[in-house]
Amino acid sequence: MHRILLTKTRRDLRRRLPQFAAIAVTVMVGVVLFISSYEAYQNLSASYDRTYARLRFADVTATGGNPRQVAAAARHTSGVSAVSSRTQGDLPLRIGGDKLLGRVVGLPAGAQPSVDRVAVTSGHYLDPGDPTGVLVESHAAKTFKLSPGNRLRAFDGSAWHTVTVRGVVDSAEYLWPARSRQDSLDDPHSFAVIFAPETTARSLAGPSAASQTLVRFTDDYRDSATTKRATAELRAAGAVDVTPRSEQASVATLKEDLTGFQQLGLTFPLLFLAAAAVAAYVLITRLVLSERKVIATFLAAGAPRRLVVQHYLSHGTVAGATGAVVGLVLGTLSTDAVTRAYTSALKVPDTVIEHRWPVAVIGLVFGLLVGLVGGIAPALAASREAPAEAMRGDGGTLEPPGPWSRTVARARRIPVVARLALRELTRSRRRTLATMTGTVLSLVLVLASVGMITSMRSLVNVQYGTVQQEDATITADTHASGLASSLRKVPGVARVEPVTTVPVTVSAHGHSYATSLTGYRQGTVMHGFRTPSGGTTSLPAQGVLAGKAIASRLGVRVGDMVTVNSPGGEGRQARLAGLLDEPIGTSVYATDTTARALTGAGADSYQLRFDHAVSEHARDDARATISNMVGVVAYTDAKALRSQFDKYLGLFWLFAGVMLVLGAILALTVIYVTMTVNVAERTGELATLRAAGVPLRRIAGILATENLTATLLAVPVGLVAGAAAAWEALDSFSSDMFHIQLTLGWGTLLSAVAAVLAASLLSQIPAIRMVRGLDIARVVRERAQ
């Protein structure tokens, strides 16, 4: 470009520095968000992958069948690099004063297995000469403050056995310590994993022992085709359930989390960049309009139109590129901090921090695009100026009134000032639309982010208020007698019901799904059965109810028959009597009679409810009393996760507050630019009003009325678009593990609207300053020349 035009661009930018700076800052925020969140997302992915590779995480886990036959089938499958077998079982654990549900996983003593290794972070690996020595998974070790040398007890179905902690380990299977896909959001105090020598594990797991075959592929074959082929081979060899790595509870939960991060890394930056583009469009259009005569003179003198386009595009691209470069630097710096904070919070053993040049290039391109997209229309309009028309002067810029102006003109009872504000909306539709777009983008940002939090809160409320209505689950020693009556006598306990819970695999049409079957007595008060239509149902006398995700997983409909396989039992047929809508997990429910008929298992636990009036302190006392009862092997507090969630609520609201502020900044940028352009375009009018002695506050009132009217007009659109964006975001999380329904309370909606209105009012300040600083004499003098 010509040097003189570059000089002009530089001076134009300097003259409108606050407005172009606002655009650059918005681009910067967008690029920082993009770089830091998208790179952090990729770093997290890489960190998980590094841990998975280091610990030789299984690509496929087969459960059931004859382990030798299944392992042999696996070894004959092409693309398989390693196979190992082990025992896994769920069992009650007693750690200190806590009785909880745990899991024991078998490992070869003396040497790491070829698949699903563990990384010892303290102490040492299992010793063949120490059958009672165990390793504790690091999350449990932290929760229960366990270290090598500590002891804990495990219940094998008939008696408690003491084992000694020899080491604390990280496991790829438990990077997120989820017991199953149905219990991915458990209270950390309700679940612990220990690794024991294979023989000890088999002995401790007792009746719950399940044989597992772990299969790892070569790197070249780690794809869906190999997974499909291996799954088929393993099933054919007798495996009851085959779980690919992507469906493993920990991996799937972390994947959901990563999906959220990825969305955050793309959607939110786009909102900021769109806002910046809108602001650039408004500002450059104003620039072009104010320079019509200059452009016309250039064109009349034979300047090529291409040059005019380039010149006006350069304003936006300089602002966008400046913001993008600063954003790139800040984003790159913050990527490290975000990645480390995340892996540290999740206790991911490996932290990979890499900076990928394509991400940086995309960030820069985003910035440039803002300038190009925002500037292209006004730049083209500038190049199409008809020189004669443009040089004719201001008289030619008046446009005849539209229907809206004529309608408002007839509303003579409304004060003229209000009529003026209403008509200004259509005077510069570009400006009004820009203000409205800023409002809409801001509301989308706020509602999409805050909506996630309020919906999560609602999910917890529904799960632990409407669905799981019990206060605690007591796992019982099946040999103990009279436990129900003992529980009823505990002060504060209002209701007690026996419950049967069995891990099962449900299959139909060649598909299977590992879940749990819970048997309640008919008319239970411990569980609410929500139907997808929003109502409630009760347990069928025959057949089972199941979470609605099972229908798509197995390709079944209500009324179809499914096969229910329990550990060590034969597959039994059951009719799918209905589907349920439950926020967390996809479980199967039946009456206790049906559960017994399907699995052969009887009641193994009790669920209880406390009196409503019972205090937290009394509940803790009851918990201690119950935990110490003979025959009680585990106590699971159903409300603990809710309490845990409430504990984090402060942090969530902080996030919501940050998003509200970011939303307000986004709105502020666009509205600020449109407001200042508004004042700039109406300098003559406003100067005339000031010359006529109209007080500043009255002019401020006119501008505020116009501005707030445009903002308020956009609010309904913004609320609908924001709710739709939030719904879309939540829908992407929906799976068999979670079903999050969008819940936006009035508080959220009002806060979001208040944020944009506050931004709108704040943008008045610079506009009023402009009016106050208006040099009436100069304006009048320039107009007179």
């Binding site: 008289g395 003229v416 003026l420 005077r427 006529a692 002695g693 109209v694 004499a777 009048v780 007179a784």
Partner: protein, 246 residues
């Protein structure tokens, strides 16, 4: 009078007094003495035309008298109000209560009708009465154009709206900066006629123009050059606006 009532002659108002008024723009080599010690008295009810080439200081003089700009030195009294050393807020009140402006480019709000443009000033300043607005527009010959938007009015009609707007607050002094500059001769004469009529109602009128032909309608003609008053002539018989031609 035919109806037997005595003719009521409005009391003249809008007197101006300047003593040694100076105004400088810029500094150093770019320093420009827009007004260089101007002494001037304008009688209440007087119609004065200020002539002069570009940069002679005539618009600065008008802005100063209108309270848009403040003098750097000297004394300035307009309509019995001393403007020297006044705070901006006081100048706003002065402009609201004492003066009305007519500009070359009419500066009408394009989204308001002619009537609303005038009403807006009444509403915003709290001076004048909305009920008077139609009469004002009738006076300027726009009885049938009151509800038209600026885009539907000719340049002369727009300027007439701006005169009605300036009169809406019943100012003592009407200040017009090149009021005919953007108009053809016939329309310009109509506008001059309205200003002359406003003057006949007792208001002082100060008009700045390049156009020497207009000078004949004034009681007094002041010519400025380099920020000073170069000459001052009194017209014994001010011409009627209809008789002016250029």
């Amino acid at each position: 009078m035919a109806d037997g009532r005595a003719l009521k002659i409005p009391a003249p108002r809008g007197g101006v007094r300047l003593r040694g008024v100076t105004k400088t723009y810029g500094t150093g080599e770019a320093k420009l003495n827009a007004l260089d010690g101007v002494d001037l008295d304008i009688e209440p009810g007087e119609l004065v035309v200020v002539l002069g080439p570009s940069g002679s200081g005539k618009t600065t003089l008008l802005n100063m008298i209108g309270g848009i700009e403040s003098p750097d030195g000297g004394e300035l009294t307009v309509a019995d109000t001393t403007l020297t050393g006044r705070a901006p807020r006081e100048l706003v009140a002065f402009r609201r209560d004492r003066v009305g402006f007519v500009f070359q480019f009419f500066n009408l709000v394009p989204t308001l009708t002619a009537r609303e443009n005038v009403e807006a000033i009444v509403e915003l300043t709290g001076r004048g009465h909305r009920a008077e607005v139609p009469r004002l527009l009738e006076q300027v010959g726009l009885a049938d154009r009151m509800d038209h938007f600026p885009a539907q009015l000719s340049g002369g009609q727009q300027q007439r709206v701006s005169i009605a707007r300036a009169l809406a607050t019943d100012p003592d002094l009407l200040l017009a900066d090149e009021p005919t500059g953007a108009l053809d001769v016939a329309t310009g004469k109509t506008v001059l006629n309205l200003l002359q009529e406003a003057n006949r109602q007792g208001r002082g009128v100060l008009m700045v123009t390049h156009n020497a032909s207009i000078a004949s309608i004034a009681h007094r003609v002041i010519t400025m050059r380099d920020g000073r008053i170069q000459s001052m002539e009194r017209n014994a018989e001010p011409a009627d606006a209809a008789a002016v031609s250029w």
